[in-house]
Symmetry: C2
Subunit: 136 residues, 2 copies
């Protein structure tokens, strides 16, 4: 069996009898410097998000509460990854078209990114995305 194409990272749990704790260290479990952290929550029922790729930004996504599905497409492979555990982290590398679906009502999707927000880094049109793939 080949390795998964969009491999999930199992983050370390430091829990004890008091409760659970999961950690992501920059340049370690999280494979880049963390310049920005954001969390998506209160997503309306039936809403999907994402539908873009990044030219350069690297990200690491974790559902710290609830669950959602990440549909990934790098032009060669597609996969749907279910994030449903606070220690299950999915890297979203540059030039991967990604969509988030099936948010549970309690979903909090935490994302660590290696760059500040920059609209110029987004590719929001799927045909433009596929054109970039064939020209790079």
């Amino acid at each position: 069996m080949s390795a998964p194409y969009f491999p999930v990272i199992d983050l370390p749990r430091r829990g004890d009898e008091r409760g659970a704790l999961v950690v992501a260290e920059a340049m370690a479990d999280c494979p880049f410097e963390i310049r920005r952290v954001y969390w998506v929550f209160g997503t309306a029922e039936g809403v999907s998000r994402g539908f873009h790729a990044h030219h350069r930004t690297r990200q690491l996504a974790v559902c710290v509460s609830g669950s959602c599905d990440l549909r990934m497409n790098d032009g060669r492979e597609t996969a749907t990854i279910r994030l449903d555990s606070p220690d299950r982290a999915l890297p979203i590398e540059p030039m991967v078209w990604h969509e988030m679906h099936n948010f549970s009502p309690d979903c909090v999707l935490l994302v660590m990114a290696d760059a500040e927000y920059d609209e110029a880094d987004y590719i929001r049109d799927f045909e433009a995305f596929t054109r970039y793939l064939t020209t790079v």
Copy 2:
């Protein structure tokens, strides 16, 4: 009225009709480089956590789900800060004794830190903490 002694930071919300998004950028809303991110969840009923200060580590805490209370004590001032909104962030600066109480069952406490975990950076004894305060 004087300024609060442990001021809370209101993080920017980037929500729209799809749902909510809150962001913390390093060296901006989060006033330091983010070397480590961790999240505390599944805290057993009646359990309190923390009960330490750090020599050097700076942290920023947010309840991205649910709520808890942070009791802060820097040797001069004490305060109890309720974290109950995903855009309400509390800086925990070095040499502040802090305790977390009243975790709601759905609480996910997200913490950004400017340093890797280092047990030597912890002061876990309150009398030792007060001694450090008088000798520094």
